[in-house]
């Protein structure tokens, strides 16, 4: 009897820890995951954060409102324009500034271009995470065109800081409209290629369907937002529910999928590319004439009170919460970053899957670590 017992014991599987990150190809930056694994099966995922925490919220407490804007570039660097816009909108709403329509339209166009650029990069990286390395370069090729547009108009490719409280730093470049139209024509031929190369691929579908499922109830409970929540069927597009800038003037569909698995989240992002293109198409020919900037005081002082503004970045709902005491600095500044909440659902989604599933799930969460760490 005892022999069989020891024999059974010797074949008993044992859980072990493994450190994924902070230097790991699939964590896209310095995220560290403490995995408890039984063979290939994941038992527990515990994220360890803070490897690039810069305490932007504390830095904001000593900066003026103009200076805060450029710090938000460094949060979610893939949707830096939208981050900037969020801060500017908060300040403008607090000051009750009337923003010219031209500024609103330009902000929306660049915001949607940012979303496309971010999704392009995500698509490339998604392919790379599931093993198809070539997608990375195809995604970057299209993103590069947008980056060139940004560089010409805003002066920088990634950390643009094009917004200032009250409008835009400069007017758009004369080539802007022409280049954006070129991009739309180019990109419309490329999305079907994305579908052929990855979406339709049988291996990819096997890898993603039914993997990392997040139900609608769990999505709400975990506070996820953006494409991740919409993949679970929770309608939460800030652009629909709280339209900002020129988004109330355009018609677009909120992409919803109900499966809640990795493939659903993937599909949401791919379809969002089409929606973003349609928004840009509606606006690009109708940029109203006018000022690109409203004159503000050199020292902006917000009235006493609390101001909250949410915008939809490429990753989800970004909230900017300013508590002002009437001075030139915010008393407390909080960024509700989408990635932080989305990451909290990772453990729930990955448990029970394989290591490969975890990587695929993480890829569709589209984590940007500086956004989580702030």
């Amino acid at each position: 009897m005892q022999e069989t017992a020891t024999l059974n014991n010797s074949f008993k599987s044992e859980e072990y820890f493994i450190n994924m990150g902070p230097q790991h190809p699939a964590t896209h930056g310095v995220l560290r995951l403490l995995l408890t694994i039984d063979g290939e099966i994941i038992k527990k995922v515990e994220p360890d954060l803070g490897y690039i925490h810069r305490s932007i919220e504390k830095m904001c407490e000593r900066d003026s409102y103009q200076q805060i804007v450029h710090l938000t570039d460094r949060m979610d660097y893939l949707s830096s324009h939208i981050n900037n816009e969020a801060v500017c909108l908060t300040v403008e709403n607090a000051l009750e500034l009337e923003i010219p329509d031209r500024v609103k339209v330009i902000r929306t166009i660049i915001g949607e271009l940012t979303r496309i650029a971010s999704h392009c990069l995500w698509w490339g990286v998604m392919g790379m995470d599931v093993g198809a390395l070539t997608t990375y370069f195809y995604g970057f090729r299209d993103r590069e065109m947008i980056n060139d547009i940004f560089e010409e108009t805003c002066g920088a490719r990634l950390t643009m800081n094009y917004n200032v409280p009250g409008g835009l730093m400069w007017d758009i470049h004369p080539n802007f409209i022409k280049r954006v139209k070129e991009f739309i024509v180019h990109f419309k031929t490329k999305i079907p290629e994305y579908d052929k190369l990855l979406t339709g691929n049988v291996i990819f579908q096997k890898r993603t369907k039914g993997v990392g499922v997040l139900s609608k109830e769990d999505a709400i409970s975990f506070g996820v937002s953006g494409p991740v929540a919409r993949g679970s069927g929770y309608s939460c597009d800030v652009r629909k529910y709280h339209p900002y800038s020129a988004l109330d003037k355009v018609t677009f569909n909120e992409v919803l999928e109900t499966d809640g698995d990795t493939f659903a989240r993937y599909n949401v992002r791919i379809k969002e590319l089409w929606e973003s293109l349609s928004i840009i198409e509606q606006l690009i020919d109708n940029i109203p004439e006018g000022e690109h900037r409203v004159k503000t005081n050199a020292v902006i002082k917000l009235p006493k009170g609390e101001f909250y503004q949410k915008v939809e970045t490429a990753r989800g709902e970004l909230g900017v919460y300013i508590i002002s005491t009437g001075t030139k600095n915010p008393y407390r500044m909080k960024f509700r970053s989408p990635g932080f909440s989305n990451l909290s659902a990772l453990n729930h989604m990955a448990v029970g899957g394989k290591i490969g599933d975890l990587v695929a799930t993480m890829a569709t969460l589209d984590l940007v670590i500086p956004d989580i760490d702030r």
Partner: protein, 354 residues
Amino acid sequence: MQISLNITETIQECLVSMMSESAAGYIAMVIIALIYLGIFSVAGLFLVLLERRVAAWFQLRIGPNRVGFQGLLQTMADALKLVSKELTGTDRADKFLYNLAPYFVIISALMALGLIPFTKEFQAFDINIGIFFLIAVSSIGVIGILLGGWASNNKFALIGAMRSGVQTISYELSVGLSLLTMILLTGSLQLSEIVELQKSGWLIVQGHIPAIIAFMIYMIAGTAETNRAPFDMVEAESELGAGFHTEYSGMKFAYFFLAEFINMFLIAAIATTVFFGAWLSPFGITESIPWLGVLWFLVKTLLLVFLMMWFRWTFPRLRVDQLLTLEWKYLLPINLVNIVVMAFIVWQNLIILI
């Protein structure tokens, strides 16, 4: 057992005039081994270069083009760098096995090359159990991978090694069975005989439908055997970092790397021999010039290598359980049915001969 040595024989004959016959035999073997070692380690490096250039062309890049003409010496420079690098390793690794592993992998890869019939005269040794020997030798490499992964004292490496074990054991079946299907046609395991048979039509034409199915299965299983994408579970850089060779550096890493490419060449070479008539030219157009056989062989092999590269740079990676599903639920049953079909075809003599 009848062993006929072709180039070995020629060298041996030269040497016999100088020394006793048995000594000449041994020395001839050593010389042949050295020649093969020299040729194929360099050829392996060029395969690496080819892979990099091909990958670049798939990916809208240019690829290495700085060292030498069009980057021809790039991988040589890389090899030189790797040789001069410090050999690091983990602290509590099993030193003996850790150091042994890369040699297992590279030697098993080089050993199998001796059987490949590059042309009628260019074949190091031609034994009557040729294909059997090839399958046996090429699967020794997995022991090296298992050893390396286990001895590295690294969990990522261990997972990679275990995956490799699972993968190779499974796909070995398909490689074997798909080659067995073709052996039903040839009735011989000896490579030279298989090639001779194909003078009346390549085997993939002779065996038509079952042969094509066998070829497809062979290519899939062969890709899996070499641990290349979409079956690169062993390395799976987005999951395991570098898999089993995470802890290897310098020349030991280079051995693993080189072995991967030699294995790829080997799989393609076996396919060329068994399905595409080895060094035989299509429709016998260059039959009068025998040395062109090498060229034909290389062209066919490199085309198949290119196909494997094409797979690699297009497809996503499978998950470990899907890898096994593919083998046990799809490839193996199809393969078994295919053998029966092939047996029927051979029995009814439905072979297409030119």
